[in-house]
């Protein structure tokens, strides 16, 4: 068992607070005003909100059991953290070749071209008790639950 972000699309109201707080969490100031002020220029949310009429949901890395991104990564940046078992991108090693974007079945990795060219993905707010998107979702459309090991990359 390990903790995963579970998406409940039927509860998502498309408010995008998850996006806002994801960005703030990954800013150095962790301050909403500063993050959206000066710092904003090189930050981007690590999740994607999809919307089509009444249906919407926030999507972040699915933590696949057999991650295609790790298999395809030529730099060794994409890896399974030996401590937490989570799929992480070591941004210091990433060269922005986009092999991971080519293979992620959920489309959950994005180009970050704002600073040094790197692949940007959810890191489950490494070190935090609860991922910011989950913590700030007003409608429990995102929850952080114990789930049996499985993922999309099967």
């Amino acid at each position: 068992m390990s903790k995963r972000i579970v998406i409940h699309e039927e509860h998502c109201i498309g408010c995008r607070l998850c996006e806002v707080h994801c960005l703030v969490q990954h800013s150095s100031s962790k301050d909403i005003i500063k993050a959206y002020g000066g710092e904003h220029s090189h930050l981007m949310p690590r999740l994607t909100v999809e919307e089509d009429g009444p249906l919407s949901f926030a999507l972040q890395c699915r933590q696949c059991e057999e991650p295609s991104c790790v298999e395809a990564c030529v730099s060794g940046a994409m890896h399974r953290d030996p401590l937490t078992g989570m799929i992480m991108c070591d941004e210091e090693r990433c060269v922005g070749c986009w092999m991971c974007i080519m293979v992620c079945p959920a489309g959950a990795i994005q180009q970050n071209l704002l600073g040094t060219k790197i692949a940007s993905k959810c890191d489950l707010c490494y070190g935090a008790e609860l991922p910011a998107c989950v913590a700030h979702c007003p409608n429990e459309a995102l929850t952080f639950d114990d789930v049996a090991e499985k993922g999309a990359g099967s």
Binding site: E50, L59, A72, V74, G76, C97, M99, A106
Partner: protein
């Protein structure tokens, strides 16, 4: 149990990590003719281009071997296999006993028969030592103009690196268009234009017939279609062919590559082959073939490594794919992306030539079999997933080409599978 791996690259790492995930007792040895510990071959162009240093060239941290309890045997060339006696023969006349053997010898650069190919300043581009030789050569002699032979992935990556070093490149490709294995003529034209915008001269339908030297170093080349080109440096980046030399005198079955089954087993007992050297299953073309790409090498290595210690996970097959970048514009191609006017296929295209943007989907029987994206590549992997899982996209066809394409464009059950990881009940 003693597992021996020949070759110390993507395939070997895939095998080691899969093996050690389930087994701590096996003895694992890796034999490599190169003198370096594991490094990333695809990053060689980034290294040549000065974007990364030697430390970042490493594909795994330096404690990889100790952490996985692997004994690397470097600078040692394997010369043959005694399949009956289960021994790997090495160039120093010794041999290494194995219970399981993985042949992960990768590819050898294709070197066309050109008079003068041994001239100083002519390099191949597949190994770390090639790049180090190029860097040493440039340091000693300088260099403003280069000729790159080959307009495929390796030639493009070499060219991109030389551009970043401020060297002017003439690229010479034998086929009518560059990247013809991966791209249709429109995408190929876009990439050609981008190269030209970066100052590269692109010559197609042409090749070098002679290499000329001055003071013992390369000075110019003669072209088949007439004329000569000045150059201080020449890189042969045509591509690789399966490096099957090791098994040539054995009873192991070889076609173009070493023939393997879904567990990467060769025709000899307890001998596996995987990666660039192997002819494994390609699920898009529905047959076994060699596809020299990193993800396939890693995955096939993992299947072999697991099987060596009793975990039987059959390979679902690979998909040919690549991601490249020219002049800052990325391009991704997956599957049968280069098909043109093929009967029984449908082509959906969206071209914005001015902004270097192109999207092209190839469908067959309502299933996606090929994708090309130039310029805008985010979410490309969703298409790859559709190809891999052979999902019927008949109902969501119009959404496939939409700017908003995402998981919401997918058939419900497949979307649920991607989002939750639950099985697809089709």
């Amino acid at each position: 149990m003693r597992a021996v791996i020949v070759g110390n690259s993507a395939t070997a790492v895939g095998a080691i990590e899969a093996l050690r995930a389930v087994n701590q007792s096996a003895k694992v040895l890796v034999v490599s003719e190169e003198s370096h510990l594991i490094y990333s071959r695809p990053l060689l162009s980034h290294y040549l281009g000065g974007e990364i240093d030697q430390v970042r060239l490493a594909y795994r941290p330096s404690d990889f071997y100790t952490r996985h309890e692997v004994t690397p045997i470097l600078e040692t060339r394997a010369t043959g296999i005694d399949t009956a006696g289960r021994r790997l023969l090495t160039q120093d006349g010794n041999s290494i006993a194995y219970d399981k053997l993985l042949i992960a010898t990768g590819g050898t650069p294709i070197l066309p028969p050109m008079p003068g190919i041994d001239t100083q300043g002519v390099f191949s581009f597949t190994r770390r030592s090639d790049v180090e030789s190029i860097l040493t050569y440039l340091e000693a002699h300088g260099g403003k103009e280069a000729v790159v032979v080959g307009g495929g992935m390796i030639g493009i990556k070499a060219t991109d690196a030389l551009i970043k070093r401020g060297i002017r490149v003439t690229m010479i490709e034998l086929a009518p268009r560059i990247l013809g294995v991966a791209l249709d003529s429109t995408a190929s034209r876009l990439m050609t234009r981008l190269l030209e915008e970066a100052g590269v001269r692109v010559l197609t339908g042409n090749t070098v017939t002679e290499i000329h030297s001055r003071d013992g170093r390369v000075h110019s080349v003669t072209l088949r279609e007439g004329g000569t080109i000045r150059c201080d440096l020449m890189i042969l980046g045509i591509g690789v062919r399966p490096n099957t030399e090791l098994v040539e005198d054995s009873d192991i079955r070889v076609n173009r590559g070493i023939v393997v089954d879904e567990y990467m087993r060769t025709s000899a007992p307890d001998v596996y082959a995987a990666g660039d050297v192997a002819e494994a299953y390609d699920l898009v073309v529905d047959m076994n073939r060699t596809v020299a790409i990193w993800p396939n090498a890693y995955r096939q290595g993992a299947i072999a490594g697991a099987h060596m210690v009793g975990i039987e996970t059959p390979d679902a097959g690979g998909v040919a794919m690549n991601a490249i970048e020219v002049h800052g514009v990325p391009a991704i191609s997956v599957g049968n992306s280069n098909l043109e006017d093929e009967p029984g296929h449908e082509f959906l295209t969206d071209l914005d030539e001015r902004n270097h943007r192109y999207k092209r989907l190839v469908l067959k029987d309502n299933r996606l079999v090929g994708v090309t994206l130039v310029g805008h590549i985010n979410r490309a992997g969703i298409y790859t997933g559709l190809i891999r899982h052979k999902i019927d996209v008949g109902a969501s066809r119009s959404a496939l080409m939409s700017e908003q394409f995402g998981l919401l464009s997918l058939p419900d059950r497949y979307r649920k599978h991607v989002v939750t990881g639950e099985g697809i009940e089709v």
